[in-house]
Structures are given as C-alpha cells and as structure tokens.
C-alpha cells in the first residue's frame, strides 16, 4: 500500500471514529502492555470513556466471582486517576479480597441498589460525576436504551463503565444480550493456576489467579481469547498493568463443546 493510500485510510478511520464518538475526541485507551492483545483493541488498549460488559458462565451468572475479579483488575489502574464506584445488588463484595487482588478499597465507594433499574440509575449518575474514574456495576441485563444512556453518561465525565452481568438472586437467565450498546463484551472464566515449584522441586498450594478471557465483541477491534494471570505484586511498582497475558488461546478453544452426533 502506498503512503498516500495509507494516509487517506488513516484520515477516513479518524473521521469514522469521530463520528462514532458523537463529535468528541476519544478518551484514550489503557494498554495491557502486550502486543498480542493491544493490537486487537482499538487505540491499542482498553478503550476508556466507554462501557464494557463482563460476563461469566454457569454458576458465575449468579455469583460473578471471576468476572468481578477480572473487572476489578481492569479497573485497578484507573483508580489512580479518580474514584471508583461499585454498584451492587447483593452485598457480598469483600474488601479484604479486593485488596488481596491489588485493587485499593480505600478508593472505592460501594452502593447497594434494590433492583436493576436502580443499579443502572446509580451507575449513570456516578459515571456522569466529576472525580469518578471508573464505575463497576452488577446488573442482570442492560437493554439498548439503558446501554445508550450509560454511554452518554460515560462521555459526560470521561469515566469508564464496567457492567458485570449478574443475577445475584438466581432469578432470570443470564443469556447473551443481543445488540448491546457496550463497546466490548468480555467473557471471563476462572482458569487453573500454575504455581511454581519451590526450592525442593515441590509444587505446593495455589498459584497466582488465572482467567480465561474471551473478547466476544469489540467495536473497532477484533475478537480474541487469552489467558491472563495476576502479575506478581513485586512487579506492580513500575506502573505495569496488573494483568499479565500468559498465552493467546485459539479462537475456538472457548466454544462450548458441541455434542457430536453421528448422522443416521
């Protein structure tokens, strides 16, 4: 491709991005620090000033432990820029556990909402407030209107939203949302940890937590699947992302195994 052509293409891309953002510049992105994922994301990192959807499968639709842990680590670098608000439906978030993951609970305001509508309202209010950098919300489902409202709220104060799909009381099915207004949808599941052998060559206990993360959908990006690990705390000092990419997974690896039935 000639330079001229590349330049034109870049100009058109910028124009499309500007149109998509409703006339305002994008709010930047937060790179993971690994090209294997950053190359697939628009702007070379986690898009900020938008809202993301984080979901789990099976029991996680009710407990949302792995999605919450992953979302907390996505949000952890943003907390340096402002406050975090976590909107809950069920008050079972344990602050010592958050601190254990490396998310500072002293910068977190927790809000317990009575139902999904109230949780979304609180998220919207928090996203549009100055001083709030990231809002995490545990919500059963976000319809198109609510999603659009969340997006407008994100744009007001350049805050990032993370919607953790969860039905905390087991009601309803956490089915896939069709035509969501989220900028990206992440599907998170816990993965077996890989503890290192100690001096005697024995493997004892659990390693750093790992997650299988599938980017199902991303506006302006390409889907993919990766294995993430909580980076050792010793490496946190120099401002690295707390999530370390361990491996890139094949796209099909996370698809639920289809029962094969022989014809006839």
């Amino acid at each position: 491709m000639s330079d001229f052509r590349a330049g034109r293409l870049d100009a058109v891309r910028a124009k499309v991005a500007a149109l998509e953002a409703g006339g305002r510049g994008d709010c930047g992105s937060l790179p993971f620090g690994d090209a294997r994922i950053d190359a697939r994301l628009p702007g070379g990192g986690l898009p900020l000033g938008r809202w993301h959807e984080v979901t789990g499968e099976g029991m996680e639709a009710e407990t949302a432990a792995a999605p919450a842990a992953f979302a907390a680590l996505l949000a952890a670098p943003l907390v340096r820029r402002g406050w975090a608000v976590w909107v809950l439906r069920r008050d079972d978030l344990h602050a010592p556990g958050l601190e254990g993951l490396g998310f500072p609970p002293e910068r977190l305001i927790q809000v317990c909402a009575r139902d999904d509508a109230e949780a979304l309202g609180v998220m919207e209010d928090a996203l549009a407030s100055t001083g709030v950098a990231v809002v995490l919300g545990e919500v059963g489902a976000v319809d198109l209107t609510a999603g659009r409202r969340l997006q407008l709220a994100c744009e007001k104060a350049a805050a990032t939203g993370l919607v953790i799909r969860r039905n905390p009381f087991g009601a309803g099915s956490g089915g896939k949302a069709h035509g969501s207004a989220a900028v990206a949808r992440w599907r998170v599941a816990a993965a077996p940890s890989a503890p290192e052998a100690n001096l005697y060559g024995e493997v004892v206990g659990l390693g750093a937590p790992r997650w299988r993360v599938e980017l199902e959908y991303c506006r302006g990006g390409r889907p993919g699947a990766w294995l993430f690990e909580r980076r050792p705390f010793e490496e946190d000092i120099d401002g690295t992302h707390p999530l370390r990419l361990v491996a890139e997974l094949g796209d099909r690896q996370l698809a639920p195994p289809q029962p094969v039935r022989a014809a006839g």
Binding site: M59, G131, K156
Partner: protein
C-alpha cells in the same frame, strides 16, 4: 385523677370544677363528697408529656429554641426572632391567638431570664412583658413559690413571714443562703439574671434558621419546590457571608391545621450550595402532605462548620478561535461553539453551574485533568446517592480489628476519611464472602486433610490444588467464658477445582472420633 402514695387525688381540674371549689391535689373522696356527679378520668402523664413535646415542636415556628418545661410549661427563646412579627407584643399576641385556636389556654410572660418569665407566667399578670433589666420590680410582689422551689421550701419561707420576693431580695446573700439553702439562692439568682441557667431545648438552637411565611397557604407541588429553593437561597446566602457550611438541613412545613411535617437532607461535607441542596430536597417534597395548605416553611441548618474555600465555577470567556475539536492538557478548552470550559487546579473544587449546562445536554465538556483527586468533589454524588437510596446503602469498606473474616470489614461513611487498610496482605481472603457459609458435602482422605472433592449447589468439584489450613478461632473474650470452647474453631482452606474455580472452604470444629466433619463454603476468590 392520679394515685399518689395510695391516695386517689385530683391531678388537674377544669374551669367548671374550679368554680365548684375543687382543686388539684384534692383527695378524690373529698371531691366526690363535694360534687357527687364529678366526671373524672385517669391521669396520663406520659400522654401529657408527649402532647407537650408535640406542642414544643409546633412552637418551632416561633423560635428555633423551645424547651418543654414539664408538666405544663414551654420556654421559648425569642431573642432575635421577635422582629419577624414586629415586636415582642405582636409575637405574644400571635402566639396566644394561635394557641387559642387550638383550644389551648395559656398564661404568657416574657422576661430576660427563664426564671423570671416562669414566675411572671405562673404568679404574675398574664401577658407581662418585662423590659430588659426591669424584672426585679415585677418579681418583687410575687410569692416565694414563684421561684420554682420545692413546695416544702417555699412553704417554709412563707411560714417565716416572707410573703413577697421583694422581702427575700432585701436579705443579704450570705444569711439567705445559710438560712434557706443554696437552691433558693440559685433560683433567685437565675430569676434575676445573676446566674446562668441551662435549658434543654427540644431542638438544638441554631442561629442558622430561616423562615418563610405566606399570605395564602400553599399546597401545589411547584409552589413547594419554589419556596424550598427560596428559603434555601436565603439561608445559604447567610452561611456564605459567614464562611460557614452545614452538614444537615431540616425543612419543616407548618400546615394550617397545626401539624409540621419535616424533611431533612444530610451532606457528606459541609455545604451551602442552594441549588445542590434544592435538588436533594426536590424528590422528597412529594412525600410532604400539604393538607389544607402550608402557611409557614422553616429551615434550619445543623452541624454548622466553617467552610473555607468558596465553591465557585470559573468560566473562561468563550473562545472564538478556529480550533475545532477538543484539546487535552492541564487545561481543557471549550470547542468552537463557545461552551464554557472547566478549569481545575489544586486546592479548589469546581462545580459546574447548572444554569449554563442543562442536565440533558449531551455535549458537556468533560474533565481530563486527574492530577488532583479531591474528596470534596465527590461529595455531590455521595449526597445524591445517600439521600436517594438511604445512607446505609452507600459506604466505603474499612478495616476492623478482628480476625473473624465476616467482621474484618465494616461499612464506613464514604467520605469520612476512615483509616483504611490494615488487612493482613499475607492472608488470602475471598472476593465474595457469603454472609452465611453454605454447607457442602466433602470427601477428604483423613479428617484433618483438605477436601479432595466436594459438592456445592448440586455440582461436584474435584479439588486439584489446595492451601491451608488457616485456623480461625472464635472471639471467646466476647461471650461468657462458659460458652467458649476450644472446639469453636474453623480450619480454612483455599482450594482450586479442576476448572480453576477458587473457593474458600472450612471445616467447623475439631476432629472427634465418630463425628462426621462438617464442611462449609464461605467465599469465592474468582
């Protein structure tokens, strides 16, 4: 009618009974002998006190400082509020008129001290207004009982021939105190303003009080919204002038029928932004039943503290430069259409002025400068949420000195600056902690080993890795020593199943032969 020391006596009598010669304190049998058709009812001191307190609440429309004086008196501090009625006489006339409308007969007096006012109301001429510093001549002709003494003490003074307070005032202090006791001297000093007297006001007296009265009672919701804004602006302007802010605002709506429903709004930080406060009050106004109309609205600011640093919005003049789009940096400039920009610098918190930026304007400028994260700038959000959802639904987690997992994290006010941290980083704690641990069926090779397989919520999890145990004992020092037992322990294990799910399980109690171990799942690590 009441029973005192086994004798039925009349507790109170009405005008008609008094005309027949009955009096309070008379034995019931004597009264019945005098007036056989006497209609009597049992005395209810608790209900009387409640009614007096309700009346005291109602009197807040006249003064923010009202002290109920059981059993049948009210003390109002009208210093600095009488001009609202155009003088003390007009205030008293209005007070008497309104109480009379409610069917309450009163004796009123106004003086420099509570003691003098009490004496004049109970024993002087009804409606006396003592000029400043002039109560001694007015008190002189009153009997000693006007000093609020014990009946025996007052009777003794009278027995000695001192029938008037004027005689008492002439006696030198030292012999007076020696002869009649310090209490008499103190009461006399209090009445004459020589000693201070503490009154238990029904509400904390706050000088931060505003009142709006209307010529016609109002009841329309939009009117109520407007008057709440007006009264907030009036009080906030005064707070602003004095450099003060308040953490709690109470608005009372005085209805024509004498009831006064009130609303209150709490703030995380002292504030005096009338618009913000009006927005916090607005959703609550619906809950006020205006009845037949509201004639007076009062507002008092509580927990008033000095508030340094004005909350101002700094606006840049509209830029007509040709730069389109947004530029980012330490300063954020507006776009070509000239919407206002928001500057932010350390030490000042900046709030947008809603007049310039309607709520539904999707094209608001955003803020990019993150250098300073001020707790105060979060206060509007916290206040909105706490007032909408309830204060108990918005919190920040704080550490509590306890090794019991469910007690180690407590809810602290979001912006109270509570000490944070303090959890041991070496102890693994789950991200989700269940309020009640859930029972699981466990297969363990030996009772003291971590499980190799467990069933939770109908699903079997095969454990591939485990860590532990961490033994956590009960807080035996909190309960009776007899209830404590070394068997009240939990052995916590962190286990990982084959799919990578990480769980926090524990075995309750010590191993006992023949007793199956009980296992519980307490949290998820995620």
């Amino acid at each position: 009618m009441e029973t005192a020391r086994g004798v039925r006596r009349l507790a109170a009598v009405d005008e008609a009974a008094r005309a027949l010669g009955l009096f309070a304190g008379q034995k019931a049998a004597d009264a019945a002998a005098l007036v056989p058709e006497l209609d009597s009812a049992e005395a209810e001191p608790a209900a009387d006190l409640a009614a007096l307190e309700a009346l005291a609440d109602w009197c807040v429309r006249f003064s923010p400082a009202v002290a109920p004086d059981a059993p049948d008196g009210l003390l109002l501090d009208v210093e600095g509020v009488s001009h609202l009625w155009g003088g003390e006489g007009a205030l008293m006339a209005d007070f008497r008129h309104r109480l009379g409308q409610g069917g309450i007969g009163v004796r009123l007096a106004l003086a420099d001290t509570p003691g003098a006012a009490w004496a004049l109301a109970h024993h002087g001429v009804d409606g006396t207004i003592a000029a400043v510093g002039e109560q001694a001549p007015l008190l002189a002709p009153l009997p000693p009982a006007a000093l609020r003494l014990e009946p025996q003490a007052a009777a003794q003074i009278e027995r000695l021939g001192l029938k008037r307070l004027g005689q008492l005032m002439k006696i030198p202090r030292a012999p007076l105190g020696r002869r009649f006791g310090a209490a008499t001297l103190m009461r006399l000093d209090q009445a004459l303003g020589r000693a201070r007297e503490a009154l238990a006001f029904r509400r904390p007296a706050t000088p931060w009080f505003a009142r709006l009265a209307f010529a016609e009672p109002i009841s329309a919701p939009e009117d109520m919204g407007r008057v709440s804004r007006d009264i907030l602006e009036a009080l906030c302007a005064r707070l602003d002038d004095a450099g003060q802010g308040a953490r709690r605002f109470e608005m009372a709506f005085h209805r024509v029928d004498g009831q006064a429903p009130s609303l209150s709004v709490g703030l995380a930080f002292p504030g005096r932004d009338a618009r913000r406060l009006a927005r916090l009050f607005a959703p609550k106004l619906e809950t006020v039943d205006p009845g037949f109309g509201i004639e007076v609205v009062t507002l008092s600011a509580l927990d008033v503290e000095p508030l340094a640093g004005r909350q101002t919005s700094l606006r840049q003049s509209p830029s007509r430069s040709s730069s389109s789009g947004l530029s980012r940096g330490s300063m954020h400039t507006g776009d070509a259409e000239g919407t206002s920009a928001l500057l932010r610098f350390p030490g000042a918190s900046v709030f947008m002025d809603p007049r310039d930026k309607p709520e539904d304007d999707g094209r608001k400028d955003e803020v990019f400068q993150w250098d300073l994260i001020d707790e105060a700038e979060l206060a509007p959000l916290v206040d909105r949420l706490a007032n909408r959802l309830g204060e108990e639904r918005v919190w920040k987690s704080a550490a509590f000195e306890s090794h019991v997992p469910e007690l180690a994290s407590i809810r602290a006010p979001p912006l109270a600056g509570a000490p944070h941290g303090g959890w041991d980083p070496d102890l693994p704690r789950p991200l989700r902690l269940f309020r009640r641990p859930e029972a699981i069926e466990v297969t363990a090779p030996v009772p003291d080993d971590p499980p190799i397989q467990f069933r939770w919520r109908g699903r079997v999890h095969r454990v591939s890795r485990s860590e532990g145990p961490e033994r956590i004992a009960e807080e035996w020092w909190k309960a009776a020593l007899s209830a404590a037992s070394p068997a009240h322990v939990r052995d916590y294990y962190r286990v990982e199943d084959q799919e990578g799910g990480r769980f926090w399980v524990f075995r309750a109690g010590l191993y006992e032969a023949g007793q199956p171990a009980r296992w519980w799942l307490h949290g998820l690590f995620g």
